[in-house]
């Protein structure tokens, strides 16, 4: 049975999380992510869970560390400045291999920046962000439906790999309302026999990220890299749109991919051979898929709302085989369909 609800992205992600079995939310208010906390504050106590407004972002992520250590499904949410503060705890979560879900509703930066939608947390979320050789699994929704769906997926991936999973969205995806088809998922939480549950069975368990001996730490960090390799082999997700016969492929994620979808529709109507490739997982990045596309097309255009942070990953995938163009807006501005159309036409004229 599926029913349809009209929801904000920031509400949908909490409803998905609760249906996925999440029973604890620890967070700190920040625009444009606050509705996630509001929604969690309303629902968590009703479903037998915990909502706690923490004294700081640092405390919030460490509460997540505690609840994850105890083996329950737990989440937090914030926006750029708050994610920066959480990085310490995220590094510990990754190091201790604790599953959790972190939602980042990106806003303009650096510093206080502004509260408009932005994509400049790409590097601090996708590349790790805190100290140490670790990775987060990163899902980038581009609709309210995906905010709901990915909340469920995120908890499954977090448990499967014992790793923090990010839902990396932006102010628009968080704030906008769309219809969401809600299906109640079959939740299969794996047995967490590694957790510290205050029971006889888990008395010998230890949650830690410290390994004093360099050889021991090397073994541990190597094991993490092995895990990331498996994630790269098994969890790549992406969306291709109108790639058939495309001469130029626009690469975009999140809200930008929605704008680009319209651009592709408009240009295709005019006979321009353009398509879109949207990475859904930013780590693992669909580098092989982009490399394959590079064999078929003339050029790429990367469109982002940052200083080219995903561009680097596209560049790594394509190498020097095909030209990669770049268009961006900064400061919380969303590129318009017209701007992107003009850019595509300019590239096609040049080549």
């Amino acid at each position: 049975m599926a029913i349809t609800q009209f929801l904000k992205g920031n509400e949908a992600v909490v409803k998905g999380a609760i249906l996925a079995g999440c029973r604890a939310f620890f967070g700190y208010p920040i625009t444009p992510a606050s509705e996630i906390a509001h929604t969690a504050a309303y629902y968590m106590p009703l479903v037998g869970g915990t909502f706690l407004q923490a004294e700081s972002e640092v405390a919030a992520i460490n509460m997540v560390y505690g609840a994850a250590s105890a083996g329950i499904r737990v989440m937090t949410a914030s926006s750029g400045p708050g994610i920066s503060l959480k990085q310490e705890g995220i590094s510990y979560l990754a190091g201790s291999e604790l599953p959790c879900v972190i939602v980042d509703i990106m806003r303009g930066g650096p510093g206080l920046g502004n509260i408009a939608p932005d994509q400049s947390d790409y590097n601090q979320v996708v590349k790790g962000g805190g100290h140490g050789s670790y990775k987060n699994i990163v899902l980038a929704p581009n609709s309210v439906q995906e905010m709901f769906d990915f909340a469920i997926l995120a908890f499954d991936l977090a448990d499967k790999y014992r790793n923090p999973v990010f839902i990396l969205a932006d102010g628009f995806i968080g704030q906008m309302m769309e219809s969401v088809e809600i299906r109640i998922p079959e939740v299969k939480e794996p047995e967490k026999n590694w957790a510290v549950k205050g029971t006889v069975e888990t008395m010998d368990n230890l949650i830690t990220s410290i390994e004093l001996d360099p050889d021991d730490l090397e073994r541990h960090v190597s094991k993490l890299q092995q895990k990331y390799k498996i994630v790269e082999e098994q969890e790549v997700r992406y969306q291709s749109y109108m790639l058939d016969g495309a001469e130029i492929v626009i690469v975009a994620f999140g809200i930008v991919s929605r704008v680009v979808q319209t651009v592709v529709d408009e240009l295709r109507e005019k006979g321009v051979k353009v398509g879109m490739f949207r990475p859904i997982t930013l780590f693992p990045f669909p580098k092989n898929e982009i490399a394959d596309i590079a064999n078929e097309v003339e050029s790429f255009l990367v469109v982002e709302m940052n200083n080219g942070q995903m561009f680097d990953d596209v560049k790594l995938a394509v190498g020097n085989r095909k030209p990669i163009y770049f268009y961006n807006r900064l400061g919380g501005n969303v590129p318009t369909t017209k701007e992107i159309c003009d850019k595509v036409m300019e590239i096609l004229r040049r080549s």
Partner: protein, 479 residues
């Protein structure tokens, strides 16, 4: 009794397998260090109270970072200063566990100052053992927040100077000022009499957690011969003669007798109930009145703009929600944040038969301007052949564009006549829906409560929509 005291507590591992190196029987602590004694008193208490299997011990950053080598309990090692936050997460996830947050002075009073203050203030049901030795031991003898005035450390080579470094912080006294903590005491490890008092304090603090799920805090003035560059016996004397003069021992707060206990039941809610709570209920049957619109080819890009408080956002939500109910694809995107509070507000609405790409409306097919600044700002963006609807009871100019359809509606005036300025937005809803024939007006009137939850305004909202429809029927000769 004497036999039992000599035996190592069962709460300690017999052999410290987690400890690297050949020696798996002794601890990593220096001779004369207080940690060993404190560990022992905690272990014995856990054993006596029969809670070893429920206990989770938190190892902090500091000399006791490897406490998990020794304690045969659940163990969690945490970031510097964050133990109270982690303990909060553990305890909230599993209220039946017994959680011990074991922290040093730098950990608790400096880098983790905020975490301990707020966990204490919430009265979290765990026990804090605060080991105060007035110095950073593990990192090599630097100043702690509890280092005494004049005390030399690696980072106060000329002695702690309050002008530069501030004063030593009395944490127990601070914690005791809060409402929620149940029991706060400072003890010291200076001689066997004081050690027995420390033992009693630790046991009491654990009892507060075990029996009443309350927050208890024990500060222990503890010798650090290595850090202080003293012999173990000199260090013990210094605790009594110097350290405790600034940090007086004794009970700082104790409401354990009258404290009724902190609730810890975990509510079990069934899957069915959760679905209901989240509003996931059997879909109502599709209303016959919307069927007429199933095949209608619609592609509206709407911008709604006005003052904050004019109901601009809910006007947009109403159109989008009702659009969804009529089988269209819809999106609604607001201006958000401080912009909404007092200033201008606007939202983007798309209603379309086909799927919606960008939710951003840069060039509206329909502009709804509820005030003059909105008309001024967005008039030129409207596509050629588009529509501008504006509230001519508030806007004192006409649109200048000649390539668009202009529809003035005295929405605020009509709303005032009905009885509330607030419902001008619903007048506009009625007018637009009627004009564009996008949806069933009767359906919207009957189901407006699903969007606008205010019961007080419900009747007036319905009336406002009707009046909007009536205005268009009268003035634009619509059937």
């Amino acid at each position: 009794m004497s036999k039992e005291i000599l035996k190592k507590s069962e709460v300690f591992y017999e052999v410290y397998e987690r400890k690297p190196g050949a020696d798996k029987l002794t601890t990593t602590y220096c001779p004369g260090c207080g940690h060993g004694i404190i560990h022992k008193m905690i272990a014995e208490a856990l054993e006596d109270f029969g809670v070893q299997d429920r206990t989770i011990f938190i190892s902090p950053v500091g000399c006791s970072v490897f406490a998990y080598y020794y304690f045969h309990t659940g163990n969690v090692q945490v970031a510097h200063g964050r133990a109270p936050a982690v303990a909060t997460g553990l305890k909230r996830a599993n209220p039946d566990s017994i959680v011990i947050s074991y922290q040093g002075d730098g950990d608790l009073a400096a880098i983790g100052g905020l975490e301990i203050l707020h966990a204490a203030n919430r009265g979290e049901g765990f026990t804090v053992i605060f080991v105060n030795n007035a110095i950073y031991g593990m990192t090599g003898g630097q100043m702690a927040p509890t280092t005494l005035i004049g005390q030399t450390t690696m980072t106060t080579p000329r002695g702690r100077d309050p002008v530069n470094d501030g004063y030593p912080i009395r944490m127990s006294e601070i914690i005791a000022t809060l409402e929620a903590p149940v029991y706060v005491e400072r003890v010291m490890l200076s001689d066997s009499k004081e050690i027995m008092k420390a033992r009693a304090a630790i046991r009491k603090a654990l009892k507060v957690q075990i029996e009443k799920n309350g927050f208890a805090f024990v500060e222990i003035l503890s010798p650090c011969p290595s850090g202080w560059k003293m012999t173990p016996s000199q260090a013990k004397r210094w605790v009594a003669d110097v350290l405790s003069k600034y940090f007086p021992v004794g009970v700082k707060k104790d409401i354990s007798a009258e404290f009724e206990g902190r609730k810890k039941e975990v509510k079990k809610v069934s899957k069915e109930e959760i679905a209901k709570i989240l509003g996931i209920v059997e879909a109502e049957e599709v209303d016959k009145r919307v069927n007429k619109y199933v095949d209608k080819d619609v592609s509206e890009e709407i911008k709604v703009a006005g003052f904050g408080g004019q109901g601009v956002l809910s006007l947009g939500i109403t159109l989008a929600y009702m659009g969804m109910k009529h089988g269209y694809k819809v999106s609604w995107l607001p201006s958000y944040g401080p912009e909404m509070r007092g200033g201008t507000a606007n939202c983007h609405v798309k209603i379309s038969k086909g799927s919606i790409g960008s939710p951003v409306v840069s060039y509206p097919t329909l502009l709804i301007a509820m005030n003059r600044p909105s008309l001024d700002r967005f008039e030129n963006d409207v596509v050629s052949g588009g529509i501008i609807v504006y509230d001519n009871s508030l806007i004192d100019r006409e649109p200048v564009r000649s390539d668009v359809t202009v529809i003035p509606i005295p929405a605020t005036k009509i709303a005032d006549e009905i009885g509330s300025t607030k419902i001008a937005n619903m007048v506009v809803v009625g007018a637009i829906v009627k004009y564009l024939d996008l949806m069933s007006v009767e359906y919207i009137i009957d189901s407006i409560d699903q969007v606008i939850k205010s019961k007080k305004l419900a009747d007036m909202n319905r009336e406002a929509i009707r009046k909007g429809v009536e205005y268009m029927t009268t003035n634009y000769k619509l059937g």
